[in-house]
């Protein structure tokens, strides 16, 4: 893990892979809750965790360098969210072709996979779900759709994701859900926050 300064009030932890990101994300959230770390934002991403709004980044960086995050298993006690998914996406045949299987095998694989929210981004409540092996990564559409409906379940790169609201998008559509993923009146507003375990089950 390498710590890089970002401007005057932020640090970027280069963690390596998604497992280390999740371990550091959980560790830093725990340390902040315990009052051992001050940061306005702790933002996990694909290979990094950003700490923003840090009053004294140099001191914080020195302290963080001395910490060893508990393994991901330590945070696996979090509740699992079951997302009822109708697998009728327009791009199921394309995914099947990339994977070298038929469409029912794609659905079966997605149903059986235990996903985890690696990070959120792109739009409020849009969760990047890891759990598929690297060899099943799929490319984005060369030309993104101008409108992907809310609730669309889709794949891109090594990730699965669910569009919380309608938006343009280039992910491959495999299904849809009626589950509300982002509600500003709910606490927390996002159903899928970093670290959450997710299953894309049949309705």
């Amino acid at each position: 893990m390498r710590i890089r300064p970002v401007g005057a009030h932020a640090l970027l932890l280069d963690c390596g892979g998604p497992e280390q990101v999740e371990a550091w994300r959980a560790e830093l959230w725990r340390r902040r809750a315990a009052g051992e770390l001050s940061a306005v934002e702790i933002v996990p991403a694909a290979a990094t965790v950003l700490l923003d709004g840090v009053p004294d980044p140099a001191t914080a960086a020195a302290r963080i360098a001395g910490w060893t995050p508990a393994g991901v298993a330590a945070s696996s006690g979090t509740a699992e969210v079951r997302v009822p998914t109708v697998y009728d996406g327009a791009d199921l045949p394309a995914v099947a072709e990339h994977w070298g299987v038929d469409a029912p095998a794609v659905v079966e694989r997605l149903r059986r996979t235990e996903f985890r929210v690696a990070f959120c981004g792109f739009a409020p409540g849009f969760a990047y779900l890891t759990g598929l092996p690297a060899e099943l990564a799929v490319p984005r559409l060369a030309t993104p759709r101008t409108r992907v409906p809310a609730g669309s379940v889709a794949l891109a790169g090594p990730y699965a994701g669910i569009y919380p609201t309608a938006s343009p998008g280039g992910w491959l559509l495999v299904g849809r859900t009626d589950l509300v993923l982002f509600d500003v009146h709910a606490d927390p507003p996002a159903r899928l926050s970093p670290g959450t375990r997710v299953r894309l089950v049949s309705p």
């Binding site: 970002v6 290979a47 990094t48 965790v49 990070f119 981004g121 792109f122 409020p124 982002f182 507003p189």
Partner: protein, 287 residues
């Protein structure tokens, strides 16, 4: 109640934004110059976090159903206060203006700069979203930009206007000199790239908005090809997309991004007033 007679090009409700939700993909948003809106709030006797309006370039016209105190800060504009009887008188920026019930405030186009902030006694009382009333033009959270005929609720005044005659408005420099801290991804660029960024002038592109300011100038050459995995972004991050032309992120910036950030601007607030074509230079924090 405020009745929007003329909304102008882009008038939005803004406050100090909604920090603390970036891990869920929620941008910070808020006034592009938070200090200017805080000052306007203090002038009318509001708490600093109260919601006001951010008015862009072409001005707007507002009618107030009750007697209010307003104050405007930011870009130079002409103000005209029309009493219900019809007589108009000019007003000044940077001081509390007392308006009787039914008065109309006409805010003219910016003579210099881009954005003006308006605070009104009691604050604008639209429903807060995740702790903030700010319009986020990227994610769509908060109230939509104002349209002609909109009505905005007002809160109850909490304090008297500040006893000041006039506050000094910061001068708008012809050339913006911005302090920049290199990193976190300067190693994705050739050593020449940071030199170019720190020694050559850039121009503000017309394709700039509340999300970010696009710059036109020397192309910043990459040392590392390929895609950077998405990572968290901060206010003022200078991101370099594949065309090599830098982009400085402002309040409505996305929470993560996949292009390398060569450096971070220390204070982005001068960019809130920079018109397209304005020259920008960067210097290291030590100078």
């Amino acid at each position: 109640m405020i009745e929007v007679l003329r909304a102008g090009a882009l008038t939005t409700v803004q406050d100090q934004g909604r920090p603390g939700w970036a891990h869920l993909g929620v941008p910070r948003s808020g006034a592009l110059d938070p200090a200017a809106l805080r000052l306007a709030n203090r002038l009318v006797g509001n708490p600093e976090h109260a919601a006001g309006l951010e008015i862009t370039l072409t001005g707007c016209a507002l009618r107030f159903s009750r007697a209010v105190t307003v104050a405007l800060t930011g870009a130079e504009v002409d103000l005209l206060v029309e009493h219900p009887a019809g007589a108009g008188r000019p007003g000044d920026l940077g001081r509390p203006l007392s308006l009787p019930a039914g008065a109309t405030l006409r805010i003219g186009p910016a003579r210099a700069g881009v954005r003006t902030w308006l605070a009104v006694s009691g604050g604008i009382a639209v429903e807060p979203v995740l702790g903030s009333r700010a319009t986020d033009t990227l994610s769509g959270l908060g109230p939509p930009p104002l349209r002609d005929g909109d009505r905005l609720p007002l809160g109850a005044p909490t304090g008297p206007p500040a006893p000041v005659d006039l506050t000094a408005a910061p001068a708008l420099p012809a050339v913006l000199r911005l302090a920049l801290r290199p990193g976190p991804r300067q190693d994705w660029f050739t050593p020449a790239a940071l030199d170019l960024l720190l020694t050559t002038a850039y121009a503000i592109s017309p394709a700039s908005n509340r999300v970010g300011v696009r710059l036109a100038g020397a192309i910043l050459p990459r040392a590392v090809a390929g895609e950077l995995p998405s990572e968290g972004l901060v206010l003022g991050a200078v991101q370099v997309p594949p065309n090599g032309q830098p982009l400085v992120f402002l309040a409505d910036h996305p929470t993560t991004g996949g292009y390398p950030v060569i450096g971070v601007v220390e204070d982005v607030t001068p960019l809130a007033q920079a018109r397209p074509g304005t020259t920008v230079t960067f210097h290291g924090p030590q100078r």
